[in-house]
Amino acid sequence: MPNGSDPVHDFTTQEYKYGFVTEIDADTIPKGLNEDIIRLISQKKNEPEFMLEWRLKAFRHWRTMTEPRWSNVHYPPIDYQDLHYYSAPKSQTNGPKSLDEVDPELRRTFDKLGIPLEEQKLLAGVAVDAVFDSVSVATTFKEKLSELGIIFCSFSEAVQNHPDLVKKYLGTVVPYTDNFFAALNSAVFSDGSFCYVPKGVRCPMELSTYFRINAAKTGQFERTLLIADEGAYVSYLEGCTAPMRDENQLHAAVVELIALEDAQIKYSTVQNWYPGDKDGKGGIFNFVTKRGACRGARSKISWTQVETGSAITWKYPSCLLLGDDSIGEFYSVALTNNFQQADTGTKMIHVGKNTRSTIVSKGISAGRGQNSYRGLVEIHKEAANARNYTQCDSMLIGEKCGAHTFPFIDVRNTSSQVEHEASTSKIGEDQIFYCQQRGLKAEDAVSMIVNGFCKEVFRELPMEFAVEAQRLLEVSLEGSVG
């Protein structure tokens, strides 16, 4: 019967739309990893002694560790001595005084990515700390934020200008001993974002960072540290796209969030890194450690992520609920298409009394994509009346993909309550046919069904980000069912 082309096939073979490489003169240090390289990185960044010491300790610890293999992803061994650990656009080594000083080529890249660095962002009320290959090249709104006492800058600047804050909080949520990739990051991280919101201040705009991996064979090691002091509130957006590339690129970021008493942090991510081509070649390896600590009573940390990119995603944004009545949330959409693999989920560690956590995970697998949810809900003995609600839904598109769930629940007291719901569904031909019979095109039907599936997560995203996420999902999935 002539039903036109096969939309599942079209959808799942859609190629990455944001693939390109920017020609920029980069300042790259030799390949390999040893103490000299770490000293060189620290020296290039003009870091104080405590940073170098910390990096070296992390490196020495890393050498004693082995790469974790417990996750449900498969990839060839990574030669850590065959990577560059530092790359900075050369013209940026002294830092631009204004946007006019930013390399025009770089500006064009941002424009191509649709990142409005200037007026658009001003109108949208978003401050951008743009990270291009490890070095911050532009920061806007800093004055406006500093009037409120909010510090929002690159990690390097924070090390120079606010060393006490860095020293006080760095590695307190994710210590360098935490895991293999966190240790590696701690040793060699090049840059990232830093944010401090002082007591009682509500950050008036969404803070936003765009990451981009560019120079070939450069591991990207971002470090983000975000602190909301007592009663403070901040909403932080992180979004990224990457250029098309043949070689796998390692990315091992660390994000640490700290919420003190009555503070709230909302951290939203839309991730669209190069997933590899439709044969599974290339693509980013994304091994990320993201963790937030609700240190104070009634504090709240909320993670929302939409993961559509990367060849491999290994990522568990987690909440450490230490303060009484603190709240942790995790809302996730993870999409794998072609040969993408994702092993993602969260950890909710309940220590304080009356702590609450919510987990809503939506996994979508298409093509030959493999999608795993891995979650841990741990309720300590002293966490009386703790509550967790977990909802874990998987959607399959096509015949060759897979969805897996690995929930771990560990409850050590009797007053707590844990709920776990899970479902697996398949975008059925019947659903598509039903929509088509009502006049909708197959492709529109697929995106309607997928968006419906992800709705609970999308509504947690800031408005403009939700629209972007929806579009991203459509692009990543175009033509997936028939």
């Binding site: 039903n3 659903q431 046919f433 309607m448 419906g452 028939g482």
Partner: protein
């Protein structure tokens, strides 16, 4: 409006329709009856464009066009609607959003202006009164958690809003209690008119007490073995399909 000639269809190598001839004119209501597995639902789905079936021989003309050349959505744009035997659930997609998108997709394809949310809501509420539907159903996800009766009423609501020229009701009566059956039948009857044709596919005579057909066709083994007026349905109720099948078999000898 709809002309089916010598239609043969099979699925996974299994012959289901084996030479259907049928003509439906505007304003007519046809009932297709038959035992389980006779091919009733297949016929409905083939007309709607489900791609599970291979058409091996025959033709289907709709307003003079070769219907088999059109995709399911193109058929919808041309004014064909099928009420599903098992309406499909679409979690997370609100009923209003779904129906508005469908209506506007059809209007757009026809070169008509799209309805805004307010106009659409007025239209939908109007039709819902016809079907005694609670407005809250519109805010729920498409068919998710609907009772059997709610699903069927929702199908008729969609039909009323999309205003098709040819409506096919596939076992719309199955799973309905008598009250729900009456409501659905009233909804369908309200849509009868000189420009619209309705094909009712059903296993039981019961529905035809409320939606009185102009023609009744009995489908057995993928063929229409007998056609007649309304009285044929009543005859069927007395004799059962076995009697008809026997007579049909004898007539072929």
């Amino acid at each position: 409006m709809l002309i089916i000639r010598n239609l043969h269809a099979e699925a996974e190598g299994k012959k289901i329709l084996q030479g259907i001839d049928l003509e439906v004119k505007p304003g007519e209501v046809h009932a297709i009856m038959g035992p389980n597995g006779s091919g009733k639902s297949t016929l409905a789905q083939v007309v709607a464009g489900h791609d599970t079936y291979d058409i091996t021989t025959g033709e289907v003309l709709y307003e003079g066009k070769d219907l088999l050349e059109l995709s399911p959505e193109e058929r919808a744009w041309e004014g064909i609607f099928m009420a599903f035997q098992y309406p499909v659930e679409i979690p997370g997609v609100r009923n209003t959003y779904f129906l508005k998108s469908a209506l506007n997709a059809i209007r757009k394809a026809r070169g008509e202006s799209e309805l805004d949310a307010m106009d659409f809501l007025d239209l939908a509420k109007d039709k819902m009164r016809l079907l005694n539907m609670e407005e809250s159903l519109m805010e729920r996800a498409v068919n998710e958690g609907f009772s059997g009766g709610e699903k069927k009423r929702n199908e008729i609501l969609q039909m009323a809003v999309l205003d098709p020229k040819l409506a096919i009701l596939d076992e719309t009566d199955s799973g309905l209690d008598i009250d729900a059956l009456k409501i659905v039948a009233n909804g369908v009857n309200a849509l009868r008119g000189p420009n619209r044709a309705i094909v009712v596919v059903t296993h039981y005579q019961r529905l035809l007490n409320y939606i009185v057909p102009d023609f009744v066709h009995v489908l057995v083994g993928g063929r229409i073995v007998k056609s007649g007026g309304r009285e044929l349905a009543l005859e069927l109720e007395k004799q059962g399909y076995a009697g008809i099948e026997k007579a049909a078999a004898e007539s072929r000898l």
